[in-house]
Amino acid sequence: MSKLIALPHTAPFAPEQIAALDQVIGAASVVQRAWLAGFLAGLDAAEGKQPSVPAATGPKPKLLVLYATESGNSEALAAKAKQEAAKLGFAVRVQDVADIDVQSLKDAGTIIAIIATWGDGEPPQRAAPFFRALMGEAAPRLDGVKFAVLALGDSSYAQFCESGRQVDARFEALGATRAAARIDLDLDYEAGAKTWLTTTLETLAPADAGSVIHVDFHKPATEAASKSAPFAAEITAHHKLTSERAESETVHVELSLAGSGITYEPGDAIGLVPENDPALVAAVMREAGLGDDAALRETLTTSYDISTLTAKQLLNYAALTGDAQLAALAEDEAKRTEFLAGRQWTDLLETFPHQLGGAEFTALLRPLAPRYYSVASSQKLVGEEAHLTVARLAYSSAGRARLGVASGMITDRLREGGSAKIFVRPNPHFRLPQSAATPVIMIGAGTGVAPYRGFLQELEATGAGTSAWAIFGHRHFLYDFLYQLEIQDWLKSGVLGRLDLASSRDQPEKRYVQHVLWEQRQELRRRLDDGATLYLCGDAKHMARDVDATLTRILADGRDESAGQAALDALISAGRYKKDVY
């Protein structure tokens, strides 16, 4: 079997070298490849070098990071532990003890437990059931499990770190072996936690895991997904980014590209092939008297746009059904537009019901189009993953509550462990500058910050940056500040040089990104004079319009508007004002 092999683009070779190697290795037989592997390893050994890129090894060692939290400190530490451990080559799972079955600890492999104490030496409220189960008779034996406990507390309480102590003692009592001594940390826990985690993880880490690069050699890149042949990516993380108190919901989705050969650059978009809401499909089939033919339901769910209603469709439906009343309405321009406003197919079928055949109906419909989502990650940091930031589109029109086809599916129906059909839509016009020296100014509101998360991850990975300036907008600082904790870290580490925020609904007067731009116009001009590249992402209808108007005023700098317009156009044609608005 000589299957085409593709080295990943990230392999440490020039493109033409990769091509050459692909040819050789691709054509090579199993035996030949085995020999080659041995030969290369032997070669390095002979020259006393560490192989810098060992061949992909077997499954990674399992590590379970448990946390018990009330106010989130333990959880934040758990996340840090995950990053660290992943670097060391563990297959890490992070779990709130509130969501774990004690029995499952049996085969957890290695456990790092980060436990906070509350009340008067009580466990955090949500952790109480876990503690009861763990302390009870029914608790499983943990022979063969390795563990280490990090206890968070406040030494001004009588029972300092009590809950951490209990877990530590109980794990041992159940037969688990202590991999590192428990550490009890006070309110100023950060530094202590960091060193403890690093040392503990290193003692647990498998020999050479650190340098293992996990590459899937079986999926040729030539088959990388496309609109017509999307890749079913597993959803490895799916959670809200906005508070329960937020007026609208935005979710964070992590997709695994493992085995797809898909690669992307920050600034690209991920195309997602949606499916219609089964409930809507059922409703439409009922209204159109289509019975419930499974095959038809399938095509209506996956292949046709059963929401959007166009003038043409209205006319066609009138013609097909010979409905005189509808025809009258459809042919009168004014009446038609009025009817169409905010209405969808289900409204039409409801007000003008007619018995249709499946084929007749689908002939009226448009194909279900993919939706695009700015990729909110950088492969240099997340490897074979793509992250999305998706706002749930919910509104009501013509007296009905509506939900966006794709965003509704993503927020309401997709879950961790499920999958989504995706492909990449490269966007070469929305990339970081070639030179790390070029200052960047990133303007975005709402989900418009998504691509900038990709940019910042890229800057973090490449160690460039610090001159980056972000101007982000949201409704409420407390409820919709997307990726707040990550942005704080980027500011601390200097990946992000400066941040300005506009919260539109936190004070009596509305405040948007263009207001920040105007307040900071001196600084903006200064950076543009220094050759900065300007980025704008997010809502096209309002934000982009207002930002352009403001930029024009700023660039006019006292002169008349056309001067400002000219200056702005100059920036655009010089590729120094990049937009990705929708």
């Binding site: 009340g119 949500r126 309110l187 704080q488 300005d500 004070q507």
Partner: protein, 554 residues
């Protein structure tokens, strides 16, 4: 909760913070400029208290935050300095608007006759304080290791003696006000005044070891709970005029579960001073505490512990040594009770004053109950003043006959009834969850439903007209002065309270712990038989607190 309890003779960290703060500036200005975080640095969190402001986070939201990559839901709580709780209608209106524009749309009347604004996020803090400044109010020293808001029995519009007592309260407040210009510099002008380091004549550069609290009472009311404060004054009134005050020192409520070193304590009368020397006495007691208070361990830094450690005689000698006019022997006084006088009262000048029941001090609009809107309309349309009471109620003061009628109509139109049940009207609860960082469980959000159940119990025994003081706090710090209540609930764990019994009507006796860590079921099951017994065997006019003591129940 940054300070640790330890006996090592090392200055508590807060002392270093104060020393290095350049008179309460620290890095507050810089911190307010950091937009990515709603918080400020740990040290600045201690400093900002001196300016009447606390950093808090919404504890209801804690579970969701980190998972969503959101920082804790930080916001600030700001507390007014308003001696005796007296506000003009213009000032009240400004506060009402402020809570809508910059806060959480509610006003919270406190147990020290002040108003707290919750939910003020960083970007709104300066605008909020400027709104306060614009009506000649401030939040200076409403918190921190200084003299706090000075309490005084209302109301100055109801008689000469009250007005004179209120004047004493204001004089003391002004005299003990920190001189640092930091508040105006940081929050109002937002520009550095050239480092003209002011001296703090009374406090010195490190201020007091801990908070310091003063109250002035006009008998027969002890509504300000004179026995609960570091320093209190009991007005001695002769034919309508205040001639002077009995002086009490060493009261305090706060304690820590499982720490015997800490305890609530009732103040003791140490003598009498003329009304002219009242301010001098305040300075003498404050400076004594400044010089002898414990600066190593903040949990034992209040005057009550200085007295416990050095002895009352020593402290009284120190105080007298600092006085030109020495303290005289105390005069007789008599208190009737420590609640507010609810409902309408008419003073000799024929003006009407309504003490309006505000459950747990929360002025808000909830469904058909539109108290906040009602008070707003009253302030907009009628010539009245507002006085915040020591039991979290509000007095609409100095209304003429016409205004009185209008007030009743406006309240009725907004679904506000003047009175609650006897038990409910006297009950108070601290804020606790979700804003209080120290809360172990709910208080303000829970007490109302418990009162309903207790009322039912009392009714069974025909006790529903019997006044009984009930006070609840979400932790042992005692913000609602629970240890002076006939029935006190002190938060221990989520949904669980220590049950204290045996306070007396005039608030001069500490109650005692009767049941630990009781949930609602236990609370009701415990009180039911006691109420039954009380209904049967109480003596004529005997209060519930006195009854449980006489019966040796506690």
């Amino acid at each position: 909760m940054t300070d640790k309890t330890n006996e090592t003779p090392k200055l508590s960290h807060n002392e270093t913070i104060k020393t290095n703060s350049r008179f309460l500036r620290g890095t507050l200005a810089e911190g307010l400029g950091e937009v990515a975080s709603g918080a400020i640095s740990e040290d600045d969190q201690q400093l900002i208290k001196f300016h009447g402001i606390y950093l808090q986070d919404d504890r209801d939201l804690r579970p969701e935050r980190a998972k969503r990559k959101l920082d804790k839901a930080y916001s600030f709580m700001a507390r007014l300095r308003v001696p005796g709780g007296v506000l003009s209608r213009e000032q009240y209106l400004a506060m009402d608007k402020l809570s809508d524009d910059r806060g959480n749309q509610t006003l919270r009347i406190t147990t020290r006759q002040s108003i707290q604004f919750h939910g003020v996020i960083k970007t709104n803090l300066r605008p909020a304080l400027r709104q306060i400044d614009s009506v000649l109010l401030d939040t200076i020293a409403a918190c921190g290791d200084v003299n706090r808001n000075v309490m005084c029995t209302p109301n100055e519009f109801a008689g000469r003696a009250y007005a004179q007592a209120e004047q004493t309260a204001r004089d003391i407040s002004t005299h003990l006000l920190p001189q640092s210009g930091a508040w105006r510099e940081i929050f109002i002008n937002n520009e550095k005044v050239t480092e003209a380091l002011e001296a703090e004549p009374i406090y010195g550069a490190t201020y007091l070891p801990r908070k310091f609290k003063i109250a002035v009472a006009v008998p027969p009311q002890n509504d300000v709970d004179v026995f609960a404060h570091d320093l209190s004054y009991i007005a001695i009134v002769e034919n309508g005029d205040v001639v002077g005050y009995n002086v009490l020192i060493g009261g305090g409520m706060g304690a820590t579960h499982g720490d015997a070193e800490t305890f609530p304590r009732v103040g003791e009368v140490i003598g009498f001073c003329t009304k002219e020397s009242a301010v001098a006495v305040a300075e003498a007691v404050v400076t004594t505490q400044r010089d002898y208070g414990n600066r190593m361990n903040r949990r034992r830094a209040r005057l009550k512990y200085t007295i416990a450690d050095l002895g009352l005689d020593f402290i009284v000698r120190e105080v007298n040594a600092r006085l030109k006019v020495k303290l005289e022997p105390a005069r007789d006084y008599k208190f009737a009770g420590n609640g507010d006088r609810m409902g309408w009262h008419t003073s000799e000048d024929g003006r009407h004053h309504l003490t309006l029941f505000v459950e747990n001090g929360r002025v808000a609009n909830v469904g058909a109950w539109q108290l906040k809107a009602a008070l707003k309309q009253i302030a907009e349309t009628l010539d009245v003043a507002f006085i915040l009471t020591p039991n979290q109620n509000i007095i609409v003061a100095k209304a003429d006959d016409a205004a009185r009628a209008k007030i009743e109509k406006i309240l009725a139109d907004h679904g506000v009834t003047l009175r609650g049940s006897v038990l409910r009207e006297a009950a108070i609860a601290c804020v606790a969850l979700p804003t209080c960082a120290l809360a172990l469980t709910d208080a303000e959000r829970y007490l109302p439903s418990l009162i309903t159940k207790l009322d039912a119990l009392l009714a069974e025994h025909g006790l529903d007209q019997q006044p009984i003081t009930v006070r609840m706090t979400g932790c042992p710090n005692g913000c609602a002065r629970p240890y002076l209540a006939e029935i006190g609930f002190v938060g221990r764990n989520p949904g669980r309270y220590n049950l204290h019994l045996g306070g007396n009507v005039d608030g001069s006796r500490l109650n005692r712990l009767y049941r630990e860590d009781a949930d609602e079921e236990t609370i009701l099951a415990t009180l039911a038989p006691l109420f039954a017994d009380y209904a049967q065997t109480r003596q004529n006019g005997e209060g519930f607190g006195d009854f449980v003591i006489r019966q040796g129940i506690v």
